[in-house]
C-alpha cells in the first residue's frame, strides 16, 4: 500500500475543497503545514465536483483546482465529475 | 559504450594538457583530513620537483589543519591513482610519473585531530 496525496495552498478558496475531499475520502489524513495543506490517502483519493459545488453553493469546474494546486502524487484520471489519484500497488 | 547519436559523434576534451601552456593539472589530498572540503586542484610545471610541490604548495595549503605542524613529510604514505607510490623528492613531477590530471594522496596514520571522535 502506498499513499497518494494532493497539496493545496492554504487560503479561503481551498477551504471548501479540503472539506469536500475530507467528506468524500474518510480514509484521508489532512496535514496542515505553513501556507499549505497536504492530504494523504492510502492508494486512492477522489475529488468530486458535486460535493465541492454543494459546499461552495455555485458551479465548479474541476479544472479550477489548478489555481490552488501545489503538488500531487499518484496516477491522475480526470473527467467532468471526478479527479482521481491512485497507485496500482 | 558509444554515444547514441544521429550522426557520428566525437567529443573533444576541454582539459587536454596542451591547453595549459606547458603546465599540467595535479590533484592532491590528505586522507581523513576533511577540513579541506575537496581535493585541491593545482596547476604546476611538470619540471617542478616533488619536494618543491610539498614545500611550496602542499604545506601552505594544509596549514589550517591542527595536524599540519605534526606531519613528518618524509614519512607519509603516498598514493598515486589510488595505488601506493614512493615519490623521489628531488625528481620532477614528470620523472615521478605524475601525469596531467593525476590525483596524489597522502596518509598520516595516527594524526587525526578533527576526526578523532569518528
Amino acid at each position: 500500500m502506498s499513499n497518494v496525496f494532493i497539496v493545496l495552498q492554504a487560503n479561503e478558496e481551498t477551504r471548501a475543497l479540503v472539506e469536500a475531499i475530507q467528506l468524500d475520502n474518510p480514509h484521508a489524513v489532512v496535514v496542515r503545514q505553513p501556507a499549505m495543506i497536504k492530504i494523504d490517502a492510502p492508494d486512492r483519493l477522489e475529488v468530486r465536483r458535486a460535493t465541492i459545488e454543494e459546499l461552495l453553493g455555485r458551479s465548479f469546474d474541476l479544472q479550477e483546482l489548478h489555481i490552488n494546486l501545489v503538488t500531487l502524487a499518484g496516477h491522475v484520471n480526470e473527467d467532468d465529475d471526478t479527479l482521481t489519484l491512485s497507485w496500482n500497488s | 559504450m558509444p554515444v547514441t547519436s544521429l550522426k557520428p559523434y566525437v567529443g573533444v576534451s576541454r582539459d587536454r594538457v596542451e591547453n595549459y601552456n606547458g603546465q599540467q593539472l595535479v590533484y592532491a589530498s590528505w586522507d581523513h583530513h576533511l577540513l579541506f572540503a575537496s581535493p585541491f586542484i593545482l596547476c604546476l610545471s611538470p619540471q617542478m620537483t616533488f619536494g618543491e610541490l610539498v614545500e611550496q604548495r602542499l604545506k601552505p595549503l594544509v596549514q589550517a589543519d591542527p595536524d599540519a605542524a605534526a606531519v613528518d613529510w618524509q614519512a607519509v604514505q603516498w598514493l598515486k591513482s589510488n595505488q601506493p607510490f614512493t615519490p623521489a623528492f628531488d625528481r620532477s613531477l614528470a620523472d615521478n610519473g605524475i601525469a596531467h590530471k593525476e590525483q596524489i594522496r597522502w596518509r598520516t596514520p595516527g594524526l587525526n585531530s578533527l576526526m578523532s571522535a569518528a
Binding site: Q63 | V3, R14, L42, R105
Partner: protein, 506 residues
C-alpha cells in the same frame, strides 16, 4: 433540425480528443521520418501514438483563464512586496543566500527547460504529447520570469543578485545546474522527457519546491512563497506528464524497458546531485527552519519515491541504482556542502557562515548519528580560527567531478571520514568522479562527458591562467561585497540598519 434542441455537450475526454488529437493528419507530401527526424535514433520503439493518455485536458481557453488568475495573484503580491519594503520582513539577511543560489542556478534551468520542452513539443510525433510539452514550455518561461521578477526587488537592496545572467555561464557552482540541463537537451527527445519530465519533475522537484517554499513562508518571504507555490501549481501538470510519458514508453514495447531503466538510473543520480544544494539551503540557510533535509527526504523521497517505484514495478522497473547510496548520503550532504561553501566563500556570489551554537544544537538534534560525530569538530575548529582573527579561506581550489561538476566534497558511502576518489582513463586522459554513479554515467557515454566545461580547470587556461582577481572580474563578482562570510558583510549591516530604522525612532 429542431432548433430548440440544444446540442449534447461532449464529455471532457471526448471533447479534448477533438480539440487536440484530431487536429493532426497522415501527411502524404512529406514523410514522417523527415518531419520527425529525431524520433527514432534513441532506440525507443513506439507503435501507436494514439494510445497516449492525456494526463490533464486543458484547452487553451481554460489555460489562459486559469493561468491569468494565477498571474494576477502573483504580481499583486510581489508589487505589494516591493512597495512595502517586504524585504525587511524576512527573518534575517542570511536567508538571502538561498535566494541568490536559486536565481543564479535554478532560474536559468527553468529557461533551459522552456527551450527543451519547445523542442520536444515539436519532435515527438504524438499530438497529445506535443501539446502537453508545448504547454510545459510555456509554463517554464513563466517560471523563469516570475522568479526573476520576484527576486528583482531584492537585487535593488542586496548584493549577490546583480550578475546572475553573467554568472549563469561563468561562475563555478552554476555549471552544475547548467550541465544538468545541457545534458538533457543534448539528448534525444525521449531521454529529455525522462530526464526533466520524470526524474526531475516527478521524483525530485517536490524536494526542491515544497519544503523550500514552506521555509520561505516561515522566514517571512512572501515573494518567494508566491513564486514557489505558483510555479508548483504548474508542476502538478508537469509531473503527471512525466509519469504518463514513462508509462507510455514502457507499455509500447517491452524492448524499451532496458533503456528506460538506464535513463532512470542516470537521471535520478544527476538530479540528486544537482538538487543536493537544496539540503544546505534547508539545513543551514533558513534562519528559521521548517524541516530538516532528512525529514523532507523521508516525506518526498522515501515515501513518495517508494510509492512510485512500487507502482512501476509491474513494468519491471526497479528503483534507481543510486537510491541506496543517496539514502546513505542524506545525513551528510548538507554539512559537506556547507563546509565547502564556507571555505570557498571568496568565490561565491552569496554569503556563508559558521553555524551558531543554537544552529549546531538543532543540527545535532536533526542528525543525531552524524553531526556531532563528524561535522561539529570541523565547525568548532573553523570557529576557533575565525575567533583568532585567521578565518580559514581554502585557496586550494576544488577538484570537480567530470560528470556532475560538483566539487568532490563527498565521502565513501560507508566511510564518512574518507573522500570518495574515483577515476578512469578514456583515450589516455584521466577523468575524476565524485561517486560510482557519476563514473557509470561517464562510462556509458564518454564522448559526451569529456566535453564538459569544468570551471576550475578552465580557470588555469587562457586567458585567466589562474589569476583569481581576473577571474572575479570575469564572473562579475564584486570582492568584499558579493562574497565571503556573512558576518561583517554589507548585507548584514544594511539589513540591521534598515530594520532598525523601521522598528526604532532614532
Amino acid at each position: 433540425m429542431d432548433m430548440k434542441v440544444a446540442k449534447k455537450k461532449l464529455p471532457l475526454k471526448e471533447k479534448y480528443q477533438y480539440l487536440t488529437r484530431d487536429l493532426g493528419w497522415e501527411t502524404t507530401y512529406q514523410q514522417q521520418e523527415k518531419i520527425f527526424p529525431y524520433a527514432e535514433y534513441e532506440g525507443i520503439k513506439i507503435h501507436d501514438w494514439s494510445q497516449w493518455e492525456d494526463p490533464f485536458r486543458l484547452t487553451m481557453d481554460a489555460y489562459w483563464k486559469y493561468q491569468a488568475e494565477k498571474e494576477r495573484k502573483f504580481y499583486a503580491i510581489i508589487d505589494a512586496h516591493a512597495q512595502n519594503n517586504g524585504h525587511l520582513h524576512i527573518t534575517d539577511a542570511r536567508y538571502l543566500s538561498a535566494l541568490k543560489i536559486f536565481l543564479q542556478a535554478i532560474s536559468p534551468g527553468e529557461f533551459a527547460a522552456h527551450k527543451g520542452f519547445a523542442r520536444a513539443g515539436r519532435e515527438l510525433p504524438g499530438i497529445g504529447t506535443q501539446v502537453a510539452c508545448q504547454m510545459q514550455a510555456l509554463d517554464e518561461m513563466r517560471h523563469a520570469q516570475t522568479q526573476i521578477h520576484a527576486l528583482s526587488n531584492y537585487n535593488r537592496y542586496y548584493n549577490g543578485f546583480h550578475a546572475f545572467a553573467d554568472q549563469r555561464d561563468r561562475i563555478w557552482y552554476t555549471s552544475v545546474a547548467r550541465s544538468f540541463f545541457d545534458d538533457a537537451m543534448s539528448a534525444g527527445p525521449f531521454e529529455f522527457m525522462l530526464a526533466i519530465g520524470f526524474s526531475f519533475e516527478y521524483v525530485l522537484t517536490n524536494l526542491l519546491f515544497v519544503p523550500f517554499m514552506s521555509g520561505a513562508a516561515y522566514n517571512g518571504d512572501m515573494a518567494t512563497v508566491t513564486f514557489g507555490f505558483s510555479a508548483q501549481s504548474d508542476e502538478a501538470r508537469h509531473m503527471t506528464l512525466g509519469l504518463e510519458c514513462i508509462k507510455f514508453m514502457l507499455e509500447q514495447d517491452p524492448d524499451n524497458l532496458a533503456l528506460v531503466q538506464r535513463w532512470i538510473d542516470k537521471w535520478f543520480w544527476r538530479g540528486f546531485r544537482v538538487l543536493g544544494l537544496v539540503s544546505t539551503m534547508m539545513d543551514y540557510m533558513l534562519p528559521k527552519r521548517v524541516m530538516s533535509w532528512r525529514e523532507a527526504w523521508e516525506v518526498y523521497g522515501v515515501e513518495n519515491g517508494g510509492a512510485l517505484f512500487r507502482d512501476l514495478a509491474r513494468y519491471g522497473i526497479r528503483p534507481p541504482q543510486g537510491w541506496d547510496d543517496a539514502e546513505k548520503a542524506i545525513d551528510h550532504m548538507s554539512h559537506q556542502f556547507m563546509l565547502g561553501l564556507y571555505q570557498w566563500s571568496f568565490g561565491t556570489s552569496f554569503h556563508s557562515w559558521i553555524p551558531s551554537d543554537e544552529d549546531m544544537a538543532w543540527l545535532s538534534a536533526k542528525y543525531p548519528t552524524t553531526f556531532d560525530k563528524y561535522y561539529r569538530p570541523r565547525w568548532n575548529h573553523l570557529r576557533k580560527l575565525a575567533e583568532a582573527g585567521t578565518p580559514f579561506m581554502n585557496t586550494g581550489l576544488a577538484k570537480l567531478c567530470q560528470t556532475c561538476q560538483l566539487p568532490s566534497v563527498f565521502t565513501e558511502p560507508d566511510d564518512p571520514t574518507m573522500s570518495c576518489h574515483r577515476e578512469g582513463r578514456y583515450l589516455g586522459e584521466i577523468y575524476h568522479f565524485c561517486s560510482d554513479h557519476c563514473q557509470t554515467i561517464f562510462n556509458d557515454e564518454p564522448e559526451k562527458y569529456i566535453q564538459s566545461w569544468l570551471p576550475m580547470p578552465s580557470l588555469f587556461q587562457d586567458p585567466l591562467n589562474g589569476d583569481v582577481g581576473a577571474w572575479m572580474q570575469w564572473v562579475s563578482l564584486l570582492n568584499g561585497k558579493d562574497n565571503g562570510d556573512f558576518v561583517g558583510s554589507e548585507d548584514e549591516a544594511n539589513f540591521q540598519l534598515w530594520r532598525g530604522l523601521a522598528t526604532k525612532n532614532q
